[in-house]
Amino acid sequence: MIDTLLKKQVHKSQLLFFALSSSLGLGILLVVIQLFIDTQSIFNSKNDLLGNQNLIIYKDLGRNNAFTDAEIAELEQQPFITKTGGFTHGTYRVLASVTFPNHAGITTEMFLEAVSDQFIDITNKDWKWQPGDREVPIIIPKNYINLYNFGYATSSGLPQINEKIIRQVPIDLTLSGTHKTENFRAYILDASEKINSILVPESFLKFTNKSLSPNKTAKISRLILDVINPSDPKLLEFLNSKNYKYLSNDVKNSKLSYVLKLILSIVLFIGLLITILSMYLVITNINLLILKNKQTITQLHFLGFSKSDIAKVYHTIALKVLAISIIVALVISIILKFVFAPYLSILQVEHSFLSIVYLVIISVIIFIALALYYRKHTNTKIGLMIQPNTSLLTTEI
């Protein structure tokens, strides 16, 4: 009975409108949160496409182009550089030969470099070497494979290879240092788009440098930087002032990632704005409802109904509006996840249901937070209304 009294000014259509406007805001919010979660992998530094948070720098040729310890220390002190890693190169000559069955082998001079493992974009448990191991894993640039497949292999009649079978190609390395010469078996573990060099594990390079050319010191002629934003103008300005060179491609990729993040942030902001506005709308409406029923509320209270008895009616309304909004928003964002899936797969985003789980958790948190807020707000409003002296009854003398 108290329900009918307190709800007499409530219009269902009005409440539905509020629920839908809240769902719009919450929906945008959830969709963007979901996009953020789903596209995390492309912003991640492990991805070649957009996650390029590394920048390789080197000095102009024609001068002593090794980086000194002081220069590296200076780089590390810059606020926009989080980590630096030097490319160490082998202090010995490298002769690599590959033998294909039924074909003449190829022998080529080459070089080996190593970089700290934290900069390697390939996660493979075989990427390791320790003294005594027979085989050395090697990472080569991806375009070397193309060069071989479409250039060398076609013209010389050798078989073409792909990244899978490349591992099976046995390579014999002959390393000749100042001190002695040693042979190692090697295989190509993977191909990297990020680092344009022939890499071996750091432990292998340190070991061979020491044992083959103990009196030569390795110079660092290229540095890999872990940066917050490779297209940061301050960073580029700093590098230019020092006359350090970098690959402009890395910077372009990072700009793309930056723009994508910016767009997502703007949409997130709009979603937040709409959510806040619709929340405000719901609150204003609850206020209006309470105000319209002021007489009924005070009379009920003075009849012996407690504040919570009365507030409960309005809590139920607010909770229903909120629940409808969140459920609609959640359904919209889950549907959109499947609509977006083909587009995201172009960006090499793996389809995962994890984001739905996160979304549900976030929705529950939003529901609880807003429910508590509405509850508090309603209680305060009704509390003010039923205070002594402010009532409609006290006008009787």
Partner: protein, 210 residues
């Protein structure tokens, strides 16, 4: 309930000298009091002070030796459910509810009376046939009788009636007083009636001129 009134005076108007304002007196259980006054002298204000709707007064009101200014909102809610019942001068019925619903709304808080009890009380005041009529369609005298029955549908130690019979004929007044007396006795309660002049043939413990 033992009620001590210690020289209270409203803050929002200056009353003429009377037997209530600025005086010390007590209201006892199993007693009836009449507050007799002309219009505008502050009867309803006095009732509102006792009922906790208004606290703009100086002086002290004690229920069982406890100052009512210390009561919290939930204390008052309990008091209004279990200890003090009131018929407002303006009745304060809900016009969109039926006569019976208005009574049941109050009764539902404590389930003090059963449905047949309520209907029996209604027929004693000759309004049983109006049980399903909306309050807004009833005459003021009929509404007054509904409000009186509503006030009796809870346990109480103090019953405040603010000009309860102003629009009721003498015959029904007698019926109402019989019903009220019966309930007050059952509850061992204090009865306080405010009236403009009529004394309604009740044997008052004391009459206050306001």
């Amino acid at each position: 309930m033992q009620i001590h009134i210690q020289s209270i005076n409203p803050d929002f108007f200056t009353p003429a000298s009377s037997e209530v304002w600025s005086k010390n007196f007590e209201l006892h259980a199993n007693s009836s009091y009449l507050i007799q006054a002309v219009s505008g002298s502050g009867k309803s204000s006095f009732f509102n002070f006792l009922y906790g709707l208004n606290n703009r007064y100086s002086g002290t009101i004690l229920f069982e030796n406890k100052s009512i200014s210390t009561f919290s909102e939930s204390d008052w809610t309990n008091i209004r459910k279990q200890q003090i019942s009131i018929v407002f001068q303006g009745l304060r019925l809900f016009p969109e509810l039926t006569a019976f619903e208005n009574i049941q709304l109050k009764n539902g808080l404590t389930n003090h009376k059963s449905k047949p009890d309520i209907l029996e009380m209604m027929s004693r005041l000759d309004i049983a046939q109006l049980a399903d009529k909306k309050a807004e369609t009833l005459s003021y005298g009929q509404q007054q009788r509904v409000a009186i029955i509503r006030a009796l549908c809870q346990p109480f130690e103090l019953l405040l009636l603010d000009e309860p019979f102003s629009h009721i004929d003498n015959n029904q007044i007698n019926n109402a007083i019989a019903l009220i007396n019966q309930e007050v006795t059952q509850n061992n309660a204090t009865l306080v009636i405010a009236s403009l002049g009529d004394t309604y043939n009740i044997n008052y413990t004391k009459t206050f001129l306001l």
